[in-house]
């Protein structure tokens, strides 16, 4: 059995084993730890016991800006990652690593991680170029010392996932959270996958609903997410950056070209805004994300939240784009041409919080 298959099987066992655990308010299915810091720490301790000294050294990194911003949406052959490479783990270690993910993520977030890794295995099978497509090229890092009181981070990521969770930070610690999918849907064996079906479906429904409002249409063209990683290509050299070197970000201000205000929408359209928001916010475990979601859905925040779109509202063409932009929330999804097969499409999606990326613990350079 391939490693990624074992990981997914492990996911299923974990979900079944913990089906009786507390419900996640946003993700309909229960998760292993719901993002509770105690459960995440316990799972990390179990993982560490299963690792060699060298593997532990790869897992444990300092909680400093340079480590925290080291996530990307590029294959690892272009932007090398740090941390414990999941593809190098034996069965026992892999199960332990998966339990860490299960403790930190909701069932929805765990399923998405598993399926995005399978998508990378699919790409490896269809694209011979050696730029790092591989479900094994996903990494886990613990930045700082896991604690129930002092700040630290858990990072799980690779080509199309960047989970960056900060515990005990000055602010909530669910973001930055990047996710993507290439292909959008695919088959591996007899199983069909669409890793971002929930999020793209929610964003598409929202875009189609607001498209009847002229002010919802954003000006310009979108070829990627707007607040993503920064890549510096200099000919003849290894690209530099490709990580979150642009943090902290600036965001649109005022009322111009941000879309339509939540308050100007009909109740059924407003419900679609909340559903799209929750499709992103449901990816981390509830303990990590619930207070943020509540903040985003407070009447005061929603009153100042804009939603906008560009391109095709049904996300059927490259350049289609949907965004939720509030006092703190920044969620976007864009449709790009696929890299492995330029005739296909692929998604990039990003959730940032304008105040609490990295738990408010990471400053400018």
């Amino acid at each position: 059995m391939k490693r990624s298959s074992r990981w997914v099987l492990g996911a299923a066992l974990v979900v079944i084993a913990h089906a009786a655990s507390s419900a996640d308010a946003l993700c309909a299915k229960p998760s292993n730890g719901n993002g509770q810091v105690k459960a995440v720490i316990a799972s990390i301790e179990t993982l560490k016991k299963a690792l060699s000294a060298e593997q532990r050294a790869a897992l444990e990194r300092p909680f400093v800006r340079g480590s925290a911003i080291q996530w990307s949406n590029l294959p690892v052959g272009i932007v090398p990652r740090a941390g414990l490479r999941l593809g190098d783990l034996d069965v026992k270690q892999e199960h332990a690593a998966h339990r860490v993910a299960a403790a930190a993520l909701s069932a929805c977030g765990l399923k998405m991680l598993d399926e995005i890794r399978i998508a990378d295995n699919h790409l490896k099978n269809v694209d011979a170029r050696r730029i790092g497509w591989d479900g094994g090229n996903y990494y886990m890092s613990v930045l700082g010392t896991p604690s129930e009181r002092t700040p630290w981070m858990l990072q799980i990521g690779g080509h199309h996932v960047a989970y960056n969770f900060t515990f005990n930070g000055d602010r909530e610690g669910a973001t930055p959270l990047f996710f993507g999918s290439e292909p959008i849907h695919f088959n591996m064996g007899d199983t069909g996958y669409e890793p971002l079906a929930t999020q793209s479906g929610a964003m598409s429904k929202l875009a189609q609903a607001i498209a009847k409002h002229p002010e919802a249409k954003l000006s310009g063209t979108f070829t990627d997410v707007v607040k993503g990683v920064v890549v510096v290509f200099v000919e003849g050299q290894m690209p530099t950056g490709g990580t979150d070197t642009g943090f902290p970000m600036s965001y649109p201000e005022g009322t111009a070209d941000r879309g339509i205000l939540y308050g100007a929408l009909a109740p059924e359209e407003q419900a679609l805004v909340r559903a799209a928001l929750e499709s992103y916010a449901s990816l981390p475990g509830a303990a990590i994300t619930e207070s943020l979601a509540a903040t985003y859905e407070s009447p005061g925040a929603l009153a100042s939240t804009y939603v906008g779109y560009s391109g095709e509202p049904d996300l059927s063409a490259r350049g289609s784009y949907v965004r939720i932009d509030g006092p703190r929330i920044w969620m976007e999804l864009v449709v790009q041409p696929a890299v492995a097969d330029n005739k296909q499409l692929h998604y990039h999606a990003l959730w940032r919080d304008k105040l609490s990326d990295y738990g408010g613990e990471i400053g400018a350079k």
């Binding site: 170029r129 000919e235 864009v334």
Partner: protein
């Protein structure tokens, strides 16, 4: 460094073929400060330029297009002279770029090391696009700043 070497090997393997690892490449403005002028290599990815100009009825030659979207001013707003000396095509990591060698000359009495770079060649239309402004006369390129819509003016002081 240990991590970079395998990455570089992968990169070289990919670049030797038709790598297209990032579907939305950025623009670069690479500055070289001389005694009386600033020379720049302006690299604009053709895919993003095509997106930026898709709706425009007039298709300008690249040198003229740059003259309409790229300029340098003194901090007080006096225009520098801009000369596009040559234009060529290049490719990197599977992306096609237009490259322009540009020379900026300040007005008499103005410092050559302090100016405002104005560039919206792609960013006037493509909302995610970044213009990265670098100095390349250092051992490793140093990023001075980046422009993304709606920003189109970058203060440079060296």
């Amino acid at each position: 460094m240990k991590r970079v070497i395998p990455g570089l090997m992968l990169l070289c393997a990919a670049a030797g073929g038709v790598a297209l690892a990032h579907s939305a490449p950025n623009s670069l403005v690479k500055l070289d400060f001389l005694a009386h002028t600033v020379r720049a290599e302006v690299l604009v990815p053709e895919s993003e330029l095509a997106s930026a100009t898709a709706a425009e009825s007039t298709k300008w030659p690249f040198a003229e297009y740059l003259q309409r979207h790229l300029s340098v001013e003194t901090p007080q707003g006096a225009a520098w002279k801009l000369e596009v000396r040559s234009v060529s095509s290049t490719a990197y990591l599977g992306h096609a770029y237009l490259s322009a060698q540009v020379e900026f000359t300040p007005p008499p009495g103005a410092s050559v090391r302090e100016f405002v770079l104005v560039d919206d060649a792609v960013t006037h239309e493509v909302r995610n696009h970044l213009v990265l402004v670098l100095v390349t006369d250092t051992a490793t390129p140093e990023v001075l700043g980046a422009l993304q819509y709606p920003a189109r003016r970058l203060k440079v002081q060296r």
